[in-house]
Amino acid sequence: MYKFVARPLSRAASRRMLSTSSPASLPPLAHAYDAYEPAISATIMEIHHSKHHATYVNNLNACLEKAEEASKTGDANTLIALAPAIKFNGGGHINHTLFWENLCPAAESNPPTGDLAAAIDAAFGSFDAMKAEMSAKSVAVQGSGWGWLGYNKSSGSLEIATCANQDPLEATTGLVPIVGIDVWEHAYYLQYKNVRPDYVKEIWSVIDWGCAEKRFAAAK
């Protein structure tokens, strides 16, 4: 049995955790590993969180330690050489932290309301139309990557974007993450095998729109 007595991280705590001035740590999930079934199996949740995300955290910390040393001596060569690994592991840590936060048990997943619902209608026509576009673009990612509903601060509207590998949405595109879907094969393979479209179809049932609303409010 996988019982976590955890509460969702406060935004301040998240910011501290994502700050590079303190070591990264693996955030606990807000729910048990089996809480997202049947959309995402407990086995996948456990391996995804305790192995994949944990590895990003450990590797990020190792990179940050080396970067700190290099910074002290102004060793630009080392810092430059470390950049891809920091992007990969740091991005992996950021992305997965955001991901866990925007998942919830199916019983707690209710469609968006208020400002976010209005913004979705304005940008896509309807909630269903938004989901259709995000599903199509997420399924179409070549290889590994993420599908995102993001907020464009300049235009003040929502957009769908995809990123490759662990490239983080905000640093890569400027969009503020509202909802993310991991489409790396490890996110679904044990359960859905090669049928990524089925996984993307099912994951909508466990998206936490309450979390999305909070992110949207903070982003505006």
């Binding site: 391996i47 994949h52 590895t55 590797n59 690994a85 290889g143 662990q166 490890h186």
Partner: protein
Amino acid sequence: KLSLALAATALAAPCAMGYTPQQAKASAGRRDLLKNAAAFTAAVAAPGLAGAYDLPDLPYAFDALEPFIDAPTMKIHHDMHHNTYVTNVNKALEGKPAVDIVTLQTDALSAGPGVRNSGGGHYNHAFFWDEMIAPDAAKKTKPSAALQAKIDAAFGSTDAMKEKFAAAAAPGAVFGSGWCWVVVNGKDELEIVGTPNQDNPLMKGVKDEIKYPILGLDVWEHAYYLKYQNRRPEYVTNWWNVVNWDKVSDNFDYVMKEHKGVPVRG
């Protein structure tokens, strides 16, 4: 006439490549049928229709590579993933003149995502199946003298090469999906290179020059996840147990002589 000539070449090449005439014949025979059927349909319905690529059979049973690569992975990898690449590259080339799958790789980067991803995917997987063999048989294979000399020259020893390969195939080197290859470069030396997604070193623009794979490993998660989950390094280490060094040596001889990509079935 062209398709007959191609079929004859295709029949001869696989036999030289180390699998049985029956397997080669079965595959070519089916391809012939498809090509003839396609040609007939094309003459009636859509002149200029490209000859279809098809999904080559594995040269062994799904469980032949156990315990190093599990049967469910082999089945899904071949019947689903590779099959999808074949379907999609055929779709991408609908209405275009037929082109050998090796030749298709050269300009893949400028031919659009369909050709790059699915044409690359088809070649890479066809190449992959044929360089592997059951572990008991693999034990009896070894690099040819010429290949071993090149390995030693480039890396010091086979073990040193495997270490370097492990580093190049690791998650910290191939960020995300991709392949890790041993290639012959423009100076006829061996190198180890990684490529993302379904790119391969035969594609102009992927590396500083076209390089010719003699050995390659799929490190997309689908290649190992059912058995190894996140333990990619363990998969990479175990994989050497199913490498057919006789085929790899044939690949090496071919690319050294022809400076072209190794032909594949399908």
